[in-house]
Symmetry: C2
Subunit: 431 residues, 2 copies
């Protein structure tokens, strides 16, 4: 006894086209397992005559997005157009018309997610978004369902493939010789299609920031938006910093960090030093991974393809099957009541920090420099001198310290006569 | 508007006690998010006066397991006693009495799972078992739900912490000097509580085999039982083999392998050589990981604690929350119709193989040996001589070959005059 459920697809780019193929390839298998026959009934696109990787039956393609989300014969709407509008309006219309919705749209959810989750609950329909964070990796379901009852302390994510690819290339160049230059690695990434021509959203951390806001929302049940996320890009990372990190037993990775401490939530995106024996250290190239620290479950890591048409479509399809089963049984998934988020300002966040200083190679310099750290209550875990004479350089790793204290230390160090240059700060992830 | 759902717990060992603590710690949070108040109403134990890590209210402890599974006031039964009987009978009774059931019992599911899944579907209740495979790692939900529509080709798992710990210690000893002996590593594991006094179930692969059968059942929607699993233990692995593997760019790991090819399912547990740059190579000590290869999603890996009271209880609790939500909405999860499994015999399975031979150091020996490989259609990818004179040794890695052909090759090599000894076969995992 099979029932047919129909899908209305908004957008037919990489992900949309891969979804069409996946539904064709797997409809029999899903039907055999669930008794539900899935069929893509309508596909709304901007340009009917654009070349496409998939063939669609006559009458399936349309330019009428509004028609798709209000079509009474459509059960599930998949939004794959991206951006905030018109996606937001179309999803609200779809829900109001009793359709379940699946989306991969991180920008939308990170900005107006709360409105959409409420609309889905009001309609009694699913709003599922596995593919919005870390592509094919089923981290949303793990956080929403498997870890529903787990007190989560921290989530560390490599959730932007472009920046991971660039830092991996720079690290390999430092290790094996070659051009460890940021610009060269970026242009490599652009040539391979891992980075956009305008790479700002990736390299400045906006893409990872939107995903981090969604992770924080789901992990902590709190309303966290893109605007709450502190971010630093990877553009200032140098080969010298990567080499120092390496020598001290770390690798520099582009991290999104989501933490809850004393009821306050900290959400930030920046490059950080990860210990070489940490599972995140082995996540290379454009792969993504999400590392979850819970009080009972200890450590979990989810690893896979964070982007690409097929992996993303796989996540969307998992949501579609889920939505179909829920429609059939008359239920829906909910994030529950989201609490307001108390966001901890970046100044009050804490971490270990690496700091490199070019200094005069003179007795007493280390004493003067460490005095500045002490004055601001920043305790030092590692202090090393590299090079001699004109190349003299001091490298410090602090114990866990407050951002504002470390920044004050840096400002005062800049005024010391014997300090020629203060390098960038790199945060260090503890084991 | 809160509704209360009550839990009846069968067994209060490590996992049961950790679950009691988790429910106490998280009941408020779950209530706030879901509107459901969870309470442990009954706990059935064998010995009422045994010392326990948790305090229970008066009247909660009982010796009457039957009373718990038939108590009309109990909504969800958590089975944490292990073994096949009486667990099987109690779960069937609980389901027949309209309770949803959560279990961590791999032995039970790997042997009589199909009967229980059917009983759950008939009762319209959940039978959830996230904790049965890989402890705190949410791999069951990922396979059951997120990857429901994904055509899965292969799953590679490090799903036994004991054997992973032992092989990690042996590998470290080979790398850094020290005692790389199997017996020493095992006694180390026993001292630390990672291995039982009788380690058979772990080191011979029975534990991993039961979990592999469950993974195959869920991944392929087919009835695979423990008896279908081929297994080899890790007891024969030598420091020399680990060292050779290392030199050739591999690490020896205890793997469970679940594959589907041409409609046939292959399920096996054995040590194998994993390339050093494969994500599974970095899964050390007693950690577990499950690596999933799907046609669309590409590669996924799930990493975490495969055992221990708290991580296992975390997985059980996730299932309890899920079951509670499903009871409230009047739905339940199902594995769907399970197909009969066509199991591929081990003789017909294929892999790359490493084979080491002690040989006479004489011209013509390599020619004679490679002739035997050729005769059985086994193609060689790497051939190396190690040592000279009386220590002369040939090491081969084959291309992908059939098990039966490789075994025939080994038998014939044993009869060659110039071959003094044929070492163990080690299968090699391709990238």
């Amino acid at each position: 006894m099979t029932s047919e459920l129909t899908i209305g697809l908004l957008g037919c780019g990489n992900v949309g086209a891969a979804l069409v193929q996946l539904v064709e390839a797997q409809a029999d298998d899903v039907e055999q397992r669930t008794g539900i026959r899935l069929r893509i009934a309508r596909v709304a696109v901007r340009n009917l005559s654009a070349p496409r990787e998939v063939e669609l039956a006559d009458g399936v393609l349309t330019r009428d997005t509004h028609g798709v989300v209000t079509d009474p014969s459509i059960d599930i709407v998949v939004e794959a157009i991206g951006g905030i509008e018109p996606a937001r309006g179309l999803i609200l219309q779809a829900l109001a018309n009793g359709k379940s919705v699946v989306t991969a749209n991180k920008e939308l959810l990170a900005n107006v997610g709360a409105e959409l989750y409420t609309a889905a609950d009001t309609a009694g329909r699913d709003l599922l978004f596995e593919a919005a964070v870390a592509g094919g990796i089923p981290i949303m379901r793990a956080l929403r369902e498997s870890l529903h009852g787990e007190p989560i302390d921290r989530v560390l994510g490599i959730i932007n493939g472009t920046t991971n690819y660039i830092l991996t290339k720079m690290t390999d160049a430092v290790d094996f010789g070659g051009d460890a230059d940021y610009a060269a690695a970026l242009s490599d990434a652009q040539r391979l299609g891992y980075a956009e021509r305008d790479p700002t959203a990736d390299v400045e951390g906006f893409d990872a920031g939107a995903k981090a806001a969604i992770i924080a929302t789901v992990a902590f049940g709190a309303k966290v938006v893109a605007g709450d996320v502190y971010h630093e890009g990877i553009g200032a990372i140098t080969a010298a910093e990567i080499a120092i990190a390496r020598r001290l037993g770390y690798v520099v990775k582009p991290l999104a960090i989501v933490e809850r401490d004393n009821g306050e939530i900290s959400v930030r995106v920046h490059p950080a030093m990860v210990p070489l024996d940490h599972p995140l250290a082995t996540v290379r190239d454009s792969f993504n991974a999400v590392f979850v620290e819970g009080r009972f479950v200890d450590s979990l890591m989810f690893y896979g393809r964070g982007a690409g048409g097929a992996p993303t479509a796989s996540a969307v399809f998992g949501d579609v099957v889920d939505a179909a089963l829920n429609l059939q049984s008359g239920t829906h998934r909910t994030l529950g009541a989201l609490a307001p988020a108390a966001i901890r300002p970046i100044d009050e966040s804490t971490a270990e920090y690496l700091l490199g200083l070019d200094v005069a190679d003179r007795p007493g310099v280390l004493h003067a420099v460490t005095g500045v750290f002490a004055e601001h209550g920043v305790s030092i875990r590692v202090a090393e001198q590299e090079g001699n004479g004109p190349d003299a350089r001091l490298v410090f790793i602090t114990h866990v310290a407050r951002e504002s204290d470390v920044q004050a230390t840096v400002r005062q160090l800049r005024d010391l006569d014997d300090v020629r240059n203060v390098g960038g700060l790199l945060r260090v992830i503890g084991d």
